[in-house]
């Protein structure tokens, strides 16, 4: 059996030193670098000891898949190829993960939707694949601009789902994500989401870990299911489903299987808290008014809070980092003093507000909005306007701005 600890301190074929992940993320020196989000994904992968990356480049939404091809050419990725479609890519990812590889891929918008059938399969088969979701519009008429509606579809797949605010989150969480999803009591795929375009195409200062240090390799012998074995579930489940047998035992087995996937999400809670330093971050939660958001809506919320502070109004903030596992207890605690809770979102349905309403007592405190979608930006002024209007204060309308 491979022993991960035995390789710490040794070098890989590129001369990178396998480093204890806690040391790499918390103690190793960081170098400020000015990169786009897509370039940051590439730099994280350089340090991720990734065995296989399978690409269906979603350019112009994200250049990450193409950039990781460069990493392969440089020798940092074990194998790299392009699938025939998003569905094919996700199926091929499953094959690589079944075989015991650390796997990475990227997707966005309609590609995520096309590949959707694979995600519950990944979770059911306990494959710790990491998938970057650079969210974009999913409906006709098409949009390559950010819209987070696809996250709503991922929430019930059995995958871990995290929502990054910044490129720095992205860099750190790609590396930390493997540490959570590869734990034997978790061993689930991770959808690491960001608001595409805003994060992927804009440049930001990101503090990078040294390029000559990398994650310890994945140890497939710690998996809660056997590696590729055509005679055993989950592989056999897919080629010869025992659940096709119409009897109580088959149904009960499948039910128990599904429960086990969601139990694994629950088990990921303690590991996620350890690596992300909590499932949420909070500021001034003793205020009467709170903004609760995920992704770049958090950044816009911060700016709205600054504008309101200039007017003498104190507003608190809850940044939701992990959506699965869902930080229910943390959100109940953080919002217990709030009289008004605003949930700005980059999608038309307001899935985050619905989750929060289902979590806290007195859910009529939740104001689902403001919403923008289809690639619209969310000026902080419209969050200010939403808050003031709900509180019966006079607010300047932005609707006619520019006329």
């Amino acid at each position: 059996m491979a022993d991960t600890h035995s390789v710490i301190g040794t070098k890989n074929k590129k001369g990178q030193t396998y480093t204890d992940t806690w040391q790499l993320m918390h103690e190793a020196p960081r170098t400020p670098s000015f990169y786009t989000g897509s370039e940051v994904i590439k730099e994280a992968l350089r340090r991720a000891s990734c065995d296989v990356m399978i690409a269906y480049p979603i350019t112009p939404q994200s250049e990450a898949a193409a950039l990781i091809g460069e990493l392969f050419a440089e020798g940092y990725i074990g194998d790299y190829f392009r699938g025939e479609s998003e569905f094919a890519v996700m199926s091929q990812c499953a094959g690589a993960a079944f075989g015991g590889a650390r796997v990475f891929t990227t997707t966005a918008g309609p590609g995520t939707m096309r590949a959707m059938e694979n995600f519950p399969m990944w979770a059911g088969a306990r494959l710790p694949i990491q998938m970057i979701v650079t969210c974009r519009g999913i409906n006709s008429p098409l949009s390559i601009q950010p819209d987070t509606l696809e996250i709503a579809y991922l929430l019930n797949t059995g995958m871990l789902v995290w929502h990054a605010e910044t490129a720095q989150d992205f860099f750190d969480w790609i590396l930390k994500g493997y540490m959570v999803s590869e734990e034997p009591d978790v061993h689930l795929p991770l959808a690491l989401c960001c608001d595409g375009f805003f994060v992927t195409h804009t440049k930001d200062v990101v503090n990078l870990t040294p390029a000559d240090m990398c994650l310890p390799p994945y140890d497939p012998y710690r998996s809660p299911v056997p590696c590729m074995d055509m005679e055993c579930p989950p592989v056999r489940m897919m080629r010869d489903p025992f659940v096709m047998k119409s009897n109580y035992i088959s149904y009960a087995t499948h039910a128990s299987w599904q429960q086990e996937v969601w139990a694994a999400i629950e088990r990921s809670r303690k590991h996620t808290i350890k690596w992300l330093n909590g499932l949420i971050e909070t500021e001034n939660v003793d205020a009467d008014v709170l903004i609760v958001a995920s992704g770049t809506a958090v950044s816009q919320g911060r700016e709205a809070i600054r504008l309101l502070e200039d007017e003498g109004m104190r507003v608190g903030l809850v940044k939701v980092k992990a959506l699965r596992p869902w930080p229910g207890e943390e959100i109940r605690e953080a919002t217990k003093h709030a009289k008004h809770i605003f949930v700005p979102e980059f999608n038309v349905t307001g899935w985050l507000a619905k989750e929060i309403k289902a979590t806290i007592p007195n859910s009529d405190r939740v104001h689902a909005g403001p919403h923008v979608c289809g690639g619209m930006t969310m000026p902080p002024e419209i969050i200010v306007q939403e808050i003031k209007t709900a509180l019966g204060m006079k607010a300047m309308s932005l609707a006619g701005r520019g006329s």
Binding site: P233, I249, T253, E260, A263, E266
Partner: protein, 211 residues
């Protein structure tokens, strides 16, 4: 803090996963009993007590220890055999210690032979057939062990123990983690130590494994 406890069943038509009810896995050096975290030594004592109390104490070794695929597996298999022999030597003639393998996880068609094996897709059949009232899983992949433990808790009154090489199992009534051959031998020592101090449980005519 959850009020839920992982207890012998039959619990429910579809019992919940214990993790979803707020039961957490132990940290290194700990175990859990009924979902409550305890020092590992306490878990040894309780596991030994359960084996000695049961009418049909049974060990279910899985593929990770049934095949000598590395040195550690072979050592563990020897330790498991030793534990089984120890239990057999320490119980009364009215009790029947058993060692039934889970050789693989493939669904068995048209039906399993519950006298010779256990299967994660319908483990209750083996429990019922042999009237097993206390069992220990060892060397079973974690996902498959949890499937089994949940189904057993759902439909039988069997007391379940997990000797897990990874992080442990909330769906067992008692769980160890980071299992090694030495830990299995330690459990055998506890069985020897408690021999003669534990009363055999007064169970139903079905051997406690009710349906």
């Amino acid at each position: 803090m959850t009020q839920y406890r992982v207890l012998p069943g039959p619990e429910h038509f579809l019992p919940p996963a214990a993790a979803s009810m707020g039961i957490c896995l132990p940290n290194p050096g700990e175990g859990h009993i009924n979902g409550v975290i305890v020092p590992e030594e306490k878990a040894y004592e309780e596991a030994a007590r359960q084996f000695l109390m049961a009418k049909v104490p049974t060990i279910f070794p899985g593929p990770l220890v049934l095949w000598a695929w590395n040195e550690k597996a072979a050592k563990k298999a020897t330790a498991i055999r030793h534990l089984y022999e120890t239990i057999k030597a320490c119980v009364t003639p009215q009790q029947q210690a058993m060692l039934i393998p889970m050789p693989d996880y493939r669904p068995k068609y048209p039906k399993i032979n519950p006298e010779v094996e256990i299967n994660p897709n319908h483990p209750n059949l083996t429990i019922w057939h042999n009237k097993i009232d206390a069992c220990m899983f060892v060397g079973v992949h974690c996902h498959q062990a949890n499937l089994s433990l949940k189904i057993i808790r759902g439909g039988t009154s069997c007391y379940t123990i997990a000797m897990c090489a990874q992080a442990g199992h909330e769906d067992a009534m008692l769980s160890f983690r980071d299992a090694t051959a030495e830990k299995i031998m330690r459990l055998a020592e506890w069985v020897k130590k408690l021999k003669g101090t534990v009363k055999v449980s007064q169970v139903t005519s079905k051997g406690g494994a009710s349906n």
